[in-house]
Amino acid sequence: MADWDLSVTVEELGSEAPALSISVTSDLHIGGVILKLVEKTQIKRDWSDHALWWEQKQQWLLRTSWTLEKCEIHADASLVFMPQHKPLRLGLPNGATVRLQACFSGPVFRTLLGICRILNIRHPEELSLLRPLEEKKKKKERDALDEVYDLTEVPLASVSQACLYNGMPAHFADSPQTEAVYRMLSVPQPAPAPELISKQYRAASVVDKAHINSRWLDSSRSLLQQGVQENGRLWLRFKYSTFYNLEPLYDAVRLAQLYEQARWAVLLEDVDCTEEEMMLFGALQYHISKRSLSEPQTVTSNAAMDDLETALLSLEVKLDGDSSRKPKRLTLKGYKQYWFKFQDTGISYFKSKEESVGEPIQQIHLKGCEVAPDVNVAGQKFLIRLLIPAPEGMTEVYLRCENEEQYAHWMAACRLASTGRSLADSSFQSEIQSIRSFLAMQKTHGNSSVPAADDAINPHSLVSPRYQKKYKAKQLTQRILEAYQNVAQLSWNDALLRFLQIWQALPDFGLSYVVVRFKGSRKDEVLGIAPNRLIRIDLGVGDVVRTWRYNNMRQWNVNWDIRQVAIEFDGNVNIAFSCVTADCKIVHEFIGGYIFMSTRTKEQGDALNQELFHKLTGGHEAL
């Protein structure tokens, strides 16, 4: 067989170096080509990660046993010899950027599995990669701003096991730098500055939201095939809104990142919610950031220990409670001063301290009552508003405290009592602490331009721009504090899970939109893809016109030539549409992906059926 020259660029030789020319025959297999090439470079190194990339055809030559002839490679081909793993800059849901080694040659789905293994995120099938939004800022400026967490040094071989060392996977425990990266990954970020929220791109309409979905990468093709370059920027996001088997014990990173994605979805109004829900989200964010500061590693406490401590604590606190007093001010209209005693879950009051040994004027049982603050730090107004249920209805009582400290103690006691807990409860101190910091929040942002203290949180950091505009910081603090009543007792993990639950319970949660044109229709409409159904939305009215559930689906097909998706449902219902804002492969992947998600079972545990995923989402690539 005749020899001919094949020209191959070797990346290791630098971009200036000319392509190497090697003499080959058509029956030489790819492995043989690589061997010849390596000899010719005369470089001694580990070439095992290298592979040949065929530039004109934009494809990898990964089957080393195939001959050049079988690959249809002739003398005019220009090949590049390069590593399959290269650094990639990955924007995380929490806004941070990590730089890590990613596979540029395998299907993106497999690349994703590798990335999630490095980051220690379980159930990688729920995530995917997408192209970042066009940056308005200049690239250099942007690069300078970003702190990049580097994980490129993590040897890929070492991440095969998810064993924990010091509470983190072993490959993070290598150095202080990687430990810091793990903290960044597994602990939610502090509340963002309000300006950061308002400056971010917000999808204003369903159509805007639909455009976001055009940026998902094709999970069946490789990064390089999709034009992603070494050191390129991509985002890692949760794509499928079915979060399987969330387990705080193993899912530190997954939970933290999911929380971040949810938080930003709320802050940027990606998902609609009511004002009450926004305030609750705000309260939970507040709670979570506070707890993140105070208990970075949450220790699951022994229930029995808790109770024991509680029992020990009760005495001290009770004495404390007995000696506390709460004079209502005489000077203020409508307020009269009494001597107050807090006992168990109730308040008793007396005419004076001297009479406090006898029968109280009245006893108020606080269990089940509503406790609301009415505070103005600047005006030194510290009111506790109690709405106490009684057979005849609710009784409203205002208690006025003299100062912040007294307020914090009594407010904490009232809150605990309203949920049936006494002062002996172990959360009493933390409750006091959180009330203090709420007061601090009002102080720093309410009525002065004094820069925020380190641990103070600006309430405007906790809500979307709509509410930043609607409420002044002081009012907002009040609203968030009200919502806070019901979550103040949650542990860090529980607060995080609660946030996710409320997010997932929103009516619009989990809908991914694509603008489509239904067959036979003359106007664009929106297809909403949810974990369990497809919905058709009229763009003009914004109403849901139809709902089709996957469990009634008989089959779906994609005509890749005319790029049309056709779906058949039970009862001879057929729909077909072409996609306007996203490639039909993306829609196909969404549907197939959700069906894949629904096939996961407890029995299979964390084992992932990659082939099935590929078959359900691959389209003609899957052939």
């Binding site: 064993c163 029995a304 469990n551 030539d561 082939e611 003609h620």
Partner: protein, 695 residues
Amino acid sequence: MDDIDAMFSDLLGEMDLLTQSLGVENEPPNAITSPPEEVNLSPGFTDLNESLYELEDNDLDVLMADLMADLNATELKLAVDIENLKVPPSSSASQPPPATLPPAPQGLSSYDASILPSPVSLQGDVGTPSPSHQSPLPPPQHAKPSMEEIEAQIKADKIKMALEKLKEAKVKKLVVKVLIKDGSSKTLMVDERQNVRDVLDNLFEKTHCDCNVDWSLYETNPDLNLERGFEDHENLVEPLSGWTRDSENKLHFDEREDKYEVFKNPQNYYLWKKDKQTLKDMRDKDKELLIEENFCGTSIKVPDLEGALYLREDGKKSWKQKLFLLRASGIYYAPKGKSKTSRDLVCFVQFDNVNVYYAKDLKSKYKAPTDYCFVLKHPQIQKDSQYIKYLCCDDPWTLNLWVTGIRIAKYGAAFYNNYKTAVKKTSSGSAWANRITSSTGSSPSPAPSPSLSAKHASQANGHATKPQPGPVSQVRTDRANNYSLPPPPPLTHSSLPPPPPMQTSSLPPRLPPQARLPPKPACRGKQPPGPLPSPLPPPPPMDSLPPPPPPPPFPDDATEAPPDFLPPPPPMTSGPASPPVRPPVVAPPPRASFRGGSRNQSLPPPPPDPEFLPPPPPPISISSGGGGGAPPPPPPPPPSPPSGSSGRKTAPPPPRRTTPVLAGRGGGGGGGGDGEEGNFMSELMKAMNKKRGED
């Protein structure tokens, strides 16, 4: 030292008196003649259900019989306690109290077998093995500990005992009369640690009814024309305590279809907009899928309800129509002229502090547009008030939708867990199981019709509609096992929770027979599910995509997990082997987990650590042979040794506020305990003084 000893002797004496008096007062005849406070000596508790006074003689007889058994047991126990206390502490030959209390019976061996109490003793109550475990222990070792140690131990144990008695004294109890459909009634005593499920179980025993899931306890309030079914996880004493002294409220035991209808026919709630026929023809598998989607994920989904309801205007006698929407966070309405997008909605009520009630006959009472009304109010409100929100629906079905929707929003996972527990009860307890299981869609029959296919995957360019063979060769296994409702756990696994139905519903969209999709491991029947797949497995091998592993051959034994990866960090209870069966997110109610198949007793959560005692028994314990269903079953000892460790694998029990653990403070707690006693004591003294004054 002497002072403290003296103090404790006094203290214990006082408390014995108190406990005894409590025991006597628990007797119905006394209850009838004495003010309610005395029945419940718990400080701070004032209201007792007036219906206690209305007990008829026959009620009393039954109750009496129940309680006598308890009382005998209590007296026996007390006798033993007192006996033990009388023994001079310095005599090393007899230090019974120390030995009776610590959970580890082997702890002190100086126990004098001759005064071992009957099975109904403190020992049994605190969860130690039966006395027979102790008797073989050789007594001779008693001389070893030094006097100081012994004294310290005695003191510590006295503290424990004191605390325990105090706690028992504080348990709130009510005698309630439950009306039954046939016009009869049952009278029982409930204590505040019992939830509605426990009381239902108790009533099942007493009434020999069919135990189906529809049996409910519900309250009626004739002043307000309201009624509300208690949820199974609720504590019964609490809402009853809110009744006023002169309340006409009644407690009923009856079947109510609406109690768990949403789990039998979820489509009627979650797809209510669809036409009636579609809903009626809904396949069982689709019902299961709905349950899974809405109740088995990380978040409970609330039916998407919206519609025009009439709202009773505050103070006025008029009703105004508004567009109301139900969300997980509350009920909202769309203000006039505004859209119904989320941000424009006005919050009408959130559910944290209110319950939902059916309201009857408001048409005549308040001129409501229809008689299909519901009410949201704080449970303690018993009279008409501006704080009660009245809403009126067009028809009974809408009413049912809203009330059920609100219950889902308010109770979330607990609601579904209650149902699962109720089903378990049914299937273990009666022949009616079939009816229930079929109605929950547990039909094992595979769906006959071809369905969603994976055919698309093999569609080549342009040949859109030509069906092709399914891509996956894996045969889906018959899921009959998965579907069947959890059977009563086999005895050997009695401490493992049966597979919650949750798993049954994780079915994928149905696929045509030739294109069966996901590999479904078939070994469910052999192996208790849960622990096996949960350990964090090594991530799938990354470097080779094909060939995919065949469906994992599931080892029959959980211990056969691949040896080359580290087990996940142990669950918080540090059980020896496996992580919790379920993530806590959707943990089934702990009680459910511990229910043995055979008895309806409620077990306490197993002690998380051997050093801690389980919650103390109620002051009245039933004799073990007690038939006829005595009121609060004492917590039996923790699961028997073989299953003991696996018992710990189950989801860790949440702390129960009603039974703060006091044991285990033991030796170390001397100093702190003193003061604390004093403080508790002051409350107790008050209570006792009050009582004496009234005598």
